[in-house]
């Protein structure tokens, strides 16, 4: 019994260590991963266009489509992609210093976030035709309203809600992450494909059915 107790203590101790180590690791991991990519100010200087502090990025569905295409010449066309800019927290807190509840946000920075649909899609029972759109959101504490809008090639401020094609209300969730750079990606979950929008400790998912 004594051996068993000491074994139990050892396991408890290990469990406690496992708890602590990865937790600190996890908290620091994301900013480290991201900050390695930061453009040093002297490298941002450019006689034509400086490198943006909120760099642009692109996410496809199927995930990593351009890479998949490299190894498969006969791949079907992609289904969707988002082109968005990635602002970062830089010590700020999302809903304290950056965004306000009830005010539209471009889901990124600079140019409005672009959604390219290569085929028709159903989002929460509503059919959206293939084509190019922009997206923005109106965040609330526990839900986000996501608008799909036809006013493309636009800067992200002052979206024209007259040109909304559809609006969806989705839950927003608190996570244990602290995501330094705003992130969008598609993720297949069961029979739907979710467009994940994550920044700081907040995450929202818009379900697509292709």
């Amino acid at each position: 019994m004594r051996i068993f107790t000491s074994l139990l203590v050892a396991i408890l101790f290990l469990a406690a260590c496992k708890d602590k180590e990865p937790k600190t690791d996890r908290v620091t991991k994301i900013p480290t991963l991201d900050s390695s990519a930061m453009i040093r100010p002297e490298r941002a200087v450019n006689p034509y266009v400086p490198v943006d502090v909120s760099p642009m990025d692109i996410s496809y569905y199927p995930v990593d489509y351009p890479k998949l295409k490299m190894s498969n010449n006969n791949i079907a066309p992609p289904l969707a992609r988002v082109v968005y800019s990635r602002p970062h927290l830089d010590g700020r807190h999302l809903f304290k210093d950056v965004l306000k509840y009830g005010e539209p946000w471009r889901l990124g920075a600079n140019e409005a976030t672009e959604l390219d649909l290569y085929s028709d899609v159903t989002i929460m029972d509503k059919k959206i035709k293939a084509g190019r759109y922009i997206m923005y959101c109106i965040p609330e504490e526990n839900k986000w309203t996501i608008a799909i809008n036809s006013n493309i090639d636009n800067w992200g401020l002052h979206p024209d809600n007259q040109k909304d094609v559809a609006r969806f209300t989705i839950r927003s969730l608190q996570t244990n992450n602290r995501v330094e750079y705003y992130t969008m990606l598609f993720e297949k979950t069961g029979s739907v494909v979710e467009l994940v929008m994550a920044w700081d400790n907040v995450e929202a998912r818009l379900p697509f059915t292709f």
């Binding site: 006689p47 034509y48 995501v179």
Partner: protein, 188 residues
């Protein structure tokens, strides 16, 4: 006792799923993407109500940095097809029909590659879009090949840059990196 192990394993599962979730988020890239329009800054002009027509062109490309490396003839090899950027191949879109190198180019999306030489670049417009790098470049899908002369810049340019500049017949797509630049004339 059993309870303890159940709690212990439940904890491990939660922990593993947290890690999995975290690492699934893509990090910011060392060669960040950027976008240029013609007319220049079209999206800003649009919210200022200064444009009435659609844009003419836009380019989406990634911006690798020089970081003390020799670029042309070094990192970018002479006489090889280059994606003109990093990661995804560079995408150019024309919102209306244009002319390049005396040839009509229909509106639409294309991939833009270059073959870099000491004194000139061969610019290649290719129909195969949404692709990565130049690894599966297929010359059969070329729409256009045209040569442009290399010009030298006074300043050293750290990050690859692409921008449209207005000309009397349309615009030039200016591509600059290190101490080299080329201009691709587009008329419309």
């Amino acid at each position: 006792m059993k309870k303890f192990f159940v709690v212990f394993f439940a904890f491990q599962l939660v922990f593993i799923s947290l890690i999995a979730q975290t690492s699934a988020l893509p990090p910011v890239d060392n060669s960040p993407m950027d976008m240029s329009y013609f007319p220049t800054n079209y999206p800003v002009l649009k919210i200022q109500d200064k444009v009435t027509e659609t844009p003419v062109a836009r380019i989406i490309y990634s911006r690798p940095q020089k970081i003390s490396r020799a670029i042309f003839g070094g990192l970018v090899k002479y006489r090889e097809v280059w994606r003109m950027g990093a990661n995804e191949a560079t995408e150019i879109e024309f919102y209306k029909n244009v002319q390049i190198g005396g040839k009509k180019i229909s509106k639409g999306r294309y991939t833009l590659y270059a073959i870099v030489n000491e004194n000139n670049w061969t610019m290649i417009l290719n129909k195969d879009t949404d692709t990565w790098g130049a690894f599966r470049y297929d010359a059969k899908k070329d729409v256009l090949r045209t040569e442009v002369p290399v010009q030298k810049t006074d300043e050293l340019i750290e990050s690859l840059c692409m921008v449209f500049e207005k000309t009397s017949t349309g615009c030039n797509l200016v591509i600059a990196w290190e101490n080299t630049k080329v201009s691709l004339p587009i008329s419309f």
